[in-house]
C-alpha cells in the first residue's frame, strides 16, 4: 500500500459524508501492434481513454461528468462497476455493512472498517459490491433483454444476489419498484415484453431495475438524451424524487450542459480523458474559467431566435485529436485560443508540461497554466476536498 493510499484512507475515514472517493483513475486500452511495430521494438501504444482523474461523491449528491464524445466520461462511469479493465487508481467506497461482510466472506481484505477500495477487488469477487452500485444506460431500446418479460427483468437482480424472499415477496418488491417509477398499475406492465413499451416507459423500467436493490450510488449514463424533450423533464424529476426518498447518490454523465445545470450539484468538465475544471455546476456554467469550458458553453445553442442573425463565436480551433496520440504538455494547447493569444509567456509551459490543478477563488479546480498564481494541489490527490 503506497504512501498516498494510506493518506487517502485517513482522509476518507473521517469525511463521513463522502460515499465514494476516486484517486488517480487510469483506463488505458492497449493498441493492437502491427508486425512491423513489434520488429522495430516500438513500445506498446495505448488509447488513454481515462488518463488519471480524481473526484469524490457525497451522499445524496448528483455529481456530473460532462464533456464531448470520446472524453472518457462513460468509461469512468463504467470503471466503477469494473465493466472496463482499470489500469490504475484507488476507489474508496463506503459500501453497506452486509456487502462488506460478504466481501470478507469470500476472501477480500476490506481496507477500512466501513469502506473498501473497489479497484483492488478481483473482478470475479466484485459481486457483492454490485448490489450497491448500479447503472442506467442511455439507449432505452438496447438496455433491456428483448426475450424477457418485465417481471423477469426486475426479478433477475433479486435472483442473482439470492435475496431470501418468497415468490410473493419478490413480486411485492417488483410492484413497489414499478410504483416508484410511476408505472401504475404495475399489473399492466409485468407481463409485457420491452418491445411493447414506449421509450419513456422502458427507461422507467431501467430505473426501477437499478433501484430495486436500493444501491448507494447509481451511475446514470446519459439517461435522458435519447428521450423526447417533452418527457425528458418528467424523467429528471423522477430521478430527483428517487434520490431524495432513497438517499442514494448519482454519477450523472451527459454532454448537455443545460441538463446538468438543471439537475447536478457539482460538475467535472472532461477533455481527452482528463478533468479540466471541477466545482459547483451553476458557478462553472455561468462563469467558465478553463478555455475549453468557455468554448463548450459558448458553442451550446440557446432557444432564443435572435441568435439566428449573427455567427456564434466559439473560441476554439481545429478538431479533437484521437485518444491514441494525445498532444504533449497540456492536451488542449493545440486548440487553445488563450495559449495563442499570449504565446510568449506560455510557450515554455503549455506545449511542454502537463498543468497541475489550481484552486480558483470560489474553490473550484482548474487544470490550466493561466491560473499559475493560485494555490496548487501537489499530488493528483483527493485531499483538495472543499
Amino acid at each position: 500500500m503506497n504512501v498516498d493510499k494510506k493518506e487517502l484512507m485517513e482522509l476518507f475515514s473521517n469525511k463521513r459524508d463522502i460515499v465514494l472517493m476516486v484517486d488517480g483513475l487510469k483506463v488505458w486500452f492497449p493498441l493492437k501492434r502491427g508486425l512491423s511495430d513489434i520488429l522495430k521494438g516500438r513500445p506498446q501504444r495505448f488509447v488513454r481513454a481515462v488518463d488519471s482523474i480524481s473526484f469524490f461523491v457525497r451522499e445524496k449528491e448528483t455529481f456530473c461528468l460532462a464533456g464531448e464524445s470520446g472524453c472518457g466520461k462513460t468509461t469512468t462511469g463504467k470503471s466503477l462497476l469494473r465493466l472496463v479493465p482499470v489500469t490504475d487508481g484507488v476507489g474508496l467506497f463506503r459500501a453497506r455493512k452486509e456487502t462488506l461482510e460478504d466481501l470478507k466472506k469470500n476472501g477480500v481484505n476490506v481496507d477500512g472498517e466501513d469502506y473498501v477500495d473497489i479497484f483492488a477487488i478481483h473482478p470475479k469477487k466484485m459481486k457483492p459490491v454490485r448490489r450497491d452500485i448500479q447503472i442506467i444506460y442511455q439507449d432505452p431500446y438496447g438496455s433491456l433483454n428483448p426475450r424477457y418479460k418485465i417481471l423477469d427483468i426486475l426479478k433477475e437482480p433479486l435472483e442473482i444476489h439470492k435475496f431470501q424472499l418468497t415468490e410473493e415477496e419478490k413480486l411485492e418488491t417488483v410492484y413497489r419498484a414499478l410504483e416508484t417509477v410511476k408505472l401504475k398499475p404495475p399489473e399492466d406492465f409485468v407481463d409485457r415484453h420491452p418491445h411493447q413499451l414506449s421509450g419513456g416507459q422502458r427507461q422507467r423500467i431501467a430505473i426501477a431495475k437499478a433501484i430495486i436493490m436500493n444501491p448507494k450510488i447509481v451511475v446514470a449514463d446519459e439517461p435522458v438524451s435519447m428521450l423526447d424533450v417533452s418527457i425528458r423533464a418528467e424523467m429528471l424529476e423522477l430521478l430527483q424524487t428517487i434520490k431524495r426518498e432513497r438517499g442514494l447518490s448519482y454519477i450523472f454523465i451527459t454532454h448537455d450542459l443545460a441538463v446538468s445545470r438543471y439537475i447536478c450539484d457539482r460538475i467535472a468538465i472532461m477533455y481527452l480523458g482528463r478533468i479540466v475544471e471541477m466545482g459547483d455546476t451553476r458557478r462553472i456554467i455561468e462563469n467558465p474559467l478553463h478555455p475549453y469550458t468557455k468554448a463548450l458553453v459558448a458553442a451550446i445553442p440557446e432557444p432564443n431566435p435572435s441568435n439566428r442573425l449573427r455567427m456564434r463565436d466559439v473560441p476554439i480551433k481545429g478538431e479533437i485529436p484521437s485518444a491514441a496520440n494525445i498532444p504533449p504538455g497540456c492536451r488542449f494547447h493545440p486548440r487553445c485560443v488563450e495559449y495563442e493569444k499570449n504565446i510568449e509567456n506560455l510557450k515554455s509551459k503549455c506545449p511542454l508540461q502537463d498543468p497541475p490543478y489550481y484552486v480558483a477563488e470560489d474553490g473550484r479546480l482548474v487544470n490550466c497554466w493561466l491560473f499559475e498564481g493560485n494555490k496548487k494541489i501537489e499530488k493528483a490527490h483527493a485531499s483538495f476536498i472543499m
Binding site: 417533452s230 425528458r232 448537455d256 443545460a258 441538463v259 432557444p303 441568435n307 456564434r312
Partner: protein
C-alpha cells in the same frame, strides 16, 4: 419587397400502407418558403418531419405514398411530373437534401470525390475532369481540403463527413435545400461550426433552407420561420420570434418551457404527460387532446382548422379557431 416563394406546399398528405394498418404520417400540411429564408420544422420523434422531407422530393420510401396535395418549386408542380422528368429536371437541380452525417449517406465503396461529382456528370453531363474541378471548388467552399476527394467516406470524421454532405447538396445550387437533422449526431463544438457554415453559405449563395430537427435550440439558432409538427400535422407556423416568445398552441408553449436553459433563472421545467400518439389508430378530434391541459369536449370530437391568427402566424387549435370559440391571446 414582395418575397417570391421558392416553395409552395398545399394540403400535402402522405401515408404508409403497412400490413399492420394505414399510418397517416403527414396530414394536410401547407406552408410557403420564401427566397433566402430558413423555415425550421420542429417536432418530436414520430411527428412525420422526415416523411414530409421525402414527400417534397416525391421519393417516399415504400410502403409509403403521397396521398394528396401539391408541391410547387419555383412554380413547377413536382408531384404530378413523370418519374423521369422529375429525376432530370427537379431532383438535385431544383431541390436537394443534406442528410444526417451519422447515417452512411455515402456509398462506402466509392470515393467522396466521385459521389460529389455524380450530380455534375448526370445533370450537367460534365466530363469526369470538369466535374472534379467543380468538386474541388465545393470542398473549399465548405472549408475542407480538396485532397479528401480521393478518400473514402469511412476515412472522414463526423464533422468532415457533414461538411462533405453539405457540399454535395449545394452542387447544382438548387432553389430549395432540405437539411434533415444535419447536426444531431455531432458534438456541440462541431455542431456550432457546421451551423455557422450553413449561415455563411445562406448569405453568400442566397440559399433557401428547410431545416428539420427535434432540437428547439438549434431551430432558434437558424430559422426565420418555424413550423411545429405533432402527429403528422403542423400545429403552429409563424415567425420564430412569435413561436419562441408568445406561442399560441398549448403543445408549442409546453415544448418551449420544457427546454432546460443555460443562462437565466432556473425555473421548474414543465413536461407533457402521457405518451406520443399512435399513428395507426390516432385519437379523434385534435390529435394533442389526450395530453392537452386545455382540452375540451370539442377538441375530443373534431379537428380544428389551420387558422391565420395574425399575419403569417397560423395555429391549429380550437382556442383560436374563431369559427367555434372566441378567446384569443397567447397562453401564459
Amino acid at each position: 419587397m414582395a418575397l417570391t416563394a421558392v416553395l409552395e406546399v398545399e394540403n400535402l398528405s402522405t401515408s404508409y400502407y403497412t400490413f399492420r394498418g394505414m399510418v397517416k404520417a403527414v396530414e394536410k400540411v401547407s406552408f410557403k418558403l420564401e427566397k433566402e429564408e430558413i423555415l425550421g420544422i420542429a417536432g418530436e420523434s414520430g411527428c412525420g418531419k422526415s416523411t414530409l422531407a421525402w414527400s417534397l422530393m416525391g421519393l417516399v420510401p415504400p410502403p409509403g405514398r403521397v396521398v394528396e396535395g401539391s408541391v410547387k418549386i419555383d412554380g413547377i408542380e413536382v408531384l404530378n411530373l413523370s418519374e423521369s422528368e422529375r429525376r432530370k429536371k427537379i431532383l438535385w437541380e431544383k431541390i436537394s437534401m443534406i442528410f444526417q452525417g451519422a447515417i452512411n449517406a455515402f456509398n462506402p465503396v466509392y470515393t467522396v470525390g466521385y459521389q460529389l461529382a455524380e450530380p455534375f456528370i448526370y445533370h450537367k453531363n460534365y466530363s469526369k475532369k470538369e466535374a472534379l474541378e467543380k468538386v474541388k471548388e465545393l470542398l473549399k467552399m465548405v472549408g475542407l481540403n480538396p485532397e479528401i476527394e480521393k478518400r473514402y467516406p469511412h476515412e472522414l470524421s463526423g464533422g468532415m463527413k457533414q461538411r462533405a454532405v453539405i457540399a454535395m447538396a449545394l452542387a447544382l445550387e438548387p432553389s430549395v435545400i432540405i437539411a434533415d437533422e444535419p447536426t444531431t449526431a455531432l458534438d456541440v463544438v462541431i455542431q456550432s461550426q457546421i451551423l455557422n457554415l450553413m449561415k455563411k453559405l445562406k448569405q453568400d449563395k442566397k440559399l433557401s433552407f428547410i431545416f428539420i430537427t427535434h432540437d428547439m435550440s438549434v431551430i432558434a439558432e437558424m430559422a426565420d420561420k418555424v413550423a411545429i409538427m405533432y402527429a403528422g400535422r403542423i400545429v403552429e407556423l409563424g415567425p420564430s420570434e412569435i413561436i419562441f416568445n408568445r406561442p399560441y398552441h398549448p403543445y408549442t408553449s409546453a415544448l418551449i418551457r420544457s427546454i432546460p436553459r443555460l443562462r437565466g433563472p432556473i425555473e421548474k421545467l414543465q413536461y407533457i404527460p402521457g405518451e406520443p400518439p399512435n399513428l395507426i389508430s390516432p385519437p379523434p378530434g385534435c390529435k394533442f387532446n389526450p395530453r392537452c391541459q386545455y382540452a375540451e369536449e370539442l377538441c375530443k370530437k373534431e379537428e380544428p382548422g389551420f387558422v391565420e391568427v395574425e399575419k403569417g402566424h397560423f395555429v391549429r387549435c380550437w382556442k383560436y379557431d374563431s369559427g367555434k370559440q372566441s378567446s384569443g391571446g397567447a397562453i401564459k
